[in-house]
């Protein structure tokens, strides 16, 4: 996408968000939008390591939860404002991503994937046993009083998440068409050939895991304020992890637009099903969509669209 239409769309989305907060008061709307945006941010983050670099992360819930629990710990200890919490979450989770990558990225992609699962479960076990943040019993966060000029706190959270997600889209796009992005794509396509072409594969992979970790932490940071009760079960939710994989894979992993499209599509379907049928079926649906898409259309929706456009062009 050319720069002008891209930035135009981002600004339009931002403006639309502001207009929405001025016109719609129904809290459910913002709830639903927040959930979809959060999922989109997670999907974009996942795709940086998964789609761009070719390494599968099964432990997305771990990063997300650490972001949430960083907020919990800081809230309990210092009562910091949200932007600082988000920053802190980004730093902590970025470091975890770096550490995880350093320990495991020398191994084959398969072992890395299993290691991410391991990391998520180990962190969950640690949090479960950490009474400062409530351990297995959970932690209550009271909704703060002040919500700037918005009508309600959830409206403000929505705008925060919108901003964060749009920023992530911009970062993702910048990454994909940069020298760094081409290096990552080379690693994904053929790591040995990339190394012989001068790509410092380990270094770039570490950048990738760090950015992904930081983004996922940022997605999780406002979560305690959104749900007001945080416990390991809700934070380390498998559903979050599956969505983080399913949305990019359904949308298309090779392109920065893929996770966005996937999140909008899958997220909307999920909201509809959750409201009209049941939330358990909702969860099953994601799994089925994931399996269906990766077996039948591995290039995802964006991939299909590009193939179609290419065939139509002279």
């Amino acid at each position: 996408m050319r720069p002008a239409p891209f930035w135009g769309s981002l600004i339009a989305a931002l403006v639309a968000g502001v207009v929405l907060t001025e016109t719609v008061a129904n809290e459910y709307t913002y709830n639903a939008l927040y959930v979809v945006l959060q999922a989109m941010l997670m999907a974009i983050a996942w795709n940086i390591l998964g789609g761009f670099t070719g390494y599968v992360n099964f432990g997305s819930a771990g990063f997300f939860a650490v972001g949430a629990y960083t907020t919990v710990a800081l809230h309990k200890g210092f009562g910091l404002p949200l932007p600082l919490m988000i920053l802190a979450a980004a730093v902590v989770c970025g470091l975890i991503g770096l550490g995880l990558g350093y320990l495991t990225l020398r191994l084959k992609g398969v072992y890395f994937a299993i290691a991410t699962l391991a990391m998520a479960i180990v962190i969950e076990t640690l949090v479960n046993n950490w009474s400062y943040v409530g351990g297995a019993k959970g932690y209550y966060v009271l909704t703060p009083e002040q919500h700037l000029w918005f009508d309600s706190y959830i409206q403000m959270l929505f705008m925060v998440m919108l901003l964060l997600t749009l920023a992530a889209v911009a970062v993702s796009r910048a990454l994909s068409s940069s020298r760094l992005g081409r290096g990552l794509a080379a690693i994904r396509d053929d790591e040995v050939a990339a190394e012989c072409a001068g790509v410092p594969t380990l270094r770039l992979k570490l950048v990738s895991t760090t950015v992904m970790g930081a983004m996922m932490g940022v997605a999780g940071a406002p979560f305690p304020y959104f749900v007001t009760f945080v416990d390991p079960l809700s934070a380390f939710n498998l559903f979050i992890a599956v969505n983080a994989i399913a949305m990019p894979m359904i949308g298309g992993t090779a392109h920065w637009l893929g996770p966005v499209v996937g999140a909008v599509l899958v997220g909307s379907v999920q909201e509809v099903v959750k409201v009209n049928v049941s939330s358990e079926l909702n969860v099953l649906l994601v799994g089925i969509m994931l399996v269906a898409f990766i077996t039948l259309a591995p290039q995802g929706i964006v991939g299909l669209a590009r193939g179609y456009l290419r065939r139509r062009a002279p």
């Binding site: 081409r182 794509a185 396509d189 050939a193 190394e195 012989c196 072409a197 410092p200």
Partner: protein
């Protein structure tokens, strides 16, 4: 003026109990055209892997431009100026032909390249190799011949001092072989040292100034092409006792 570019000393590489390279020593002059021959399994590709860094040797050293690169990771050796093409082409399948070349330009050759001009430079390399017409095509959809050319182009895009071509001509027709030989000759004329691994004897003989023959992981003969062809040891290695 033309000093020693590469020196391999006592290189040994084992895979479990199997000795793939046995105290191989070899020196390559700057600007030289060296042919590396030997029957299948003699260790040619293993030697290349050890020189380029894809494998680490168990014993011995690799020196490039006077510097000990034995423990350097592959990407650093690429940056230092060692480039290789792969026997079985390994293109970056999700990228166009042009973008395939931008990667080595932006990484291996980064210090030798004008930042921001990589697309143009990539095109020039493609023109040199004869792939300019396919610049914006999917690299995954190339013909075998063109993939081999892309392999060479990618190695060239790394702006190497030493280019190692690993059986780039296997399975090509004689016109195509001449084409690739011509490209390699032109590259050599610009000052790039070339090591060529090939089974196609007449190509090796025409191209090389000096030939080294490996068998069962050891250097059994080295010298001018004509002398090698007549060497009884080489004949034994290829044809049996």
């Amino acid at each position: 003026m033309s000093g020693e570019l590469l020196r391999v000393s006592g290189l040994t590489k084992r895979f479990g109990g199997f000795v793939a390279l046995d105290r191989v020593s070899l020196a390559v002059r700057s600007g030289e055209r060296l042919g590396l021959i030997g029957p299948n399994g003699s260790g040619k590709t293993t030697l290349i892997n050890c020189i380029s860094g894809a494998l680490y040797n168990d014993e011995g050293t690799v020196e490039f431009e006077g510097r000990d690169v034995t423990r350097l990771p592959p990407f650093e050796r690429a940056r230092a100026g060692i480039a290789r093409s792969f026997q079985i082409p390994k293109p970056f399948r999700s990228m166009t032909v042009l973008d395939n070349l931008r990667v080595p330009l932006e990484y291996a050759a980064w210090e030798r390249t004008e930042h921001g001009g990589t697309a143009g430079e990539a095109m020039r390399v493609l023109e040199l190799i004869g792939l300019a017409a396919r610049a914006h095509e999917d690299s995954a959809k190339l013909t075998q011949v063109d993939m081999r050319k892309l392999e060479l182009a990618r190695a060239l895009a790394a702006k190497p001092r030493l280019l190692i071509s690993d059986e780039a001509m296997a399975g090509l027709s004689s016109t195509e072989v001449d084409e690739v030989l011509g490209i390699l000759r032109r590259l050599n004329e610009t000052g790039i040292t070339i090591i060529m691994i090939e089974h196609i004897m007449h190509a090796v003989m025409r191209f090389s100034e000096r030939v080294v023959c490996l068998d069962a992981g050891q250097v059994i003969c080295e010298g001018a092409p004509r002398a090698i062809v007549n060497d009884p040891g080489v004949q034994r290695a290829y044809l049996g006792a």
